[in-house]
Amino acid sequence: MDATDRKIVNALQGGFPVSERPYAEAATKLGIGEDDLIRRLDTLLSDGTLTRFGPMYHAERLGGALTLAAMRIPPQDFERVAETVNRFPEVAHNYARTHDFNMWFVLATETPERITEVIGEIERATGYRVYNMPKLEEFYVGLRFEA
């Protein structure tokens, strides 16, 4: 990753034009050519620096639902429970964290009602309580990483 790649990653986290020639438009602002931008994005995607290049949706505005859920799993049972939880297609991200509450995952469902159902299914499948921690208020942040 060179200085131009870093500029691209930093600039395009903030947005991408919706116009007939969006790469040309973005490239002009970066002071490079359209072909160069496309080629560099292709490389950054292939080497895994970028996971995706496109839209992030607002699940609730599409009729779906999202929540954060947490579990307290004894260390000796952690692997089994992680495997069981990860098999649910509604589990989008799952992180092991350094705490008594040691498993934290995001649930994404097509309807709000389905969140409660999936939580019940995970509790029955694992034998442990799932703590539902839905977002009650969101404070604005820019979500970006300086490359």
Binding site: Y23, F53, G54, M56, R61, A92, A108, K135, E137, F145
Partner: protein, 175 residues
């Protein structure tokens, strides 16, 4: 008389919008006129795709359009969820204060779950090392005057899944 619960405001998303969102969820084509290519796949015109996407973005259905980075590959190895026990009448004030730092990537109020879980304000700090995260945290505590508030730092030890959510049975990234 029929009584119904008030429904939260939701922008209208029609069938063509849904097909369009499904078509671009894995990413935009890397060609000079990507919206024209999407349009031809869906049997729409390029102008219609541009109009619909602009509208979806302006109404917030698309929260953000651009690149999604894999933060660990950029060297952000330490990812901490910091949780705070904040008096209910100060959550908004402190949430806004925390959200103002550029190393904070998410900041939410969430419910307490007594007696096991007392924390009601969450923020995510990404840093290149745990030391960097602690330095950010100290700076934040001083700036927002959080010294008296109980908090805990939960570092991620392992990431099992980062596949995005499911929209029409296809993975997408949602924030």
């Amino acid at each position: 008389m029929e009584h119904s619960l008030p429904t939260p405001h939701r922008p209208r998303v029609d069938d063509a919008d849904r097909r369009l969102l499904a078509a671009i969820q894995h990413g935009l084509p890397l060609v000079s006129r990507p919206y024209a290519e999407i349009a031809s796949r869906l049997g729409l015109s390029e102008a219609e795709v541009i109009t619909r996407l602009t509208c979806l973005r302006d109404t917030g259905v698309i929260r953000r359009f651009g690149v999604v980075v894999r933060h660990r590959e950029l060297g952000y190895a330490a990812n901490a969820m910091v949780v705070w026990d904040v008096p209910d009448d100060r959550v908004t004030e402190l949430g806004c204060c925390l959200a103002g730092f550029d190393f904070i990537t998410l900041c939410y109020r969430r419910p307490r779950r007594p007696p096991h879980w007392r924390y009601n304000l969450y923020c995510m700090i990404h840093g290149k090392s745990r030391d960097e995260v602690f330095a950010h945290l100290e700076w934040m505590v001083n700036h927002c005057r959080l010294q008296a508030l109980p908090h805990e730092v939960l570092f991620s030890r392992r990431r099992f899944k980062q596949c995005g959510a499911v929209y029409e049975r296809q993975p997408i990234a949602v924030s």
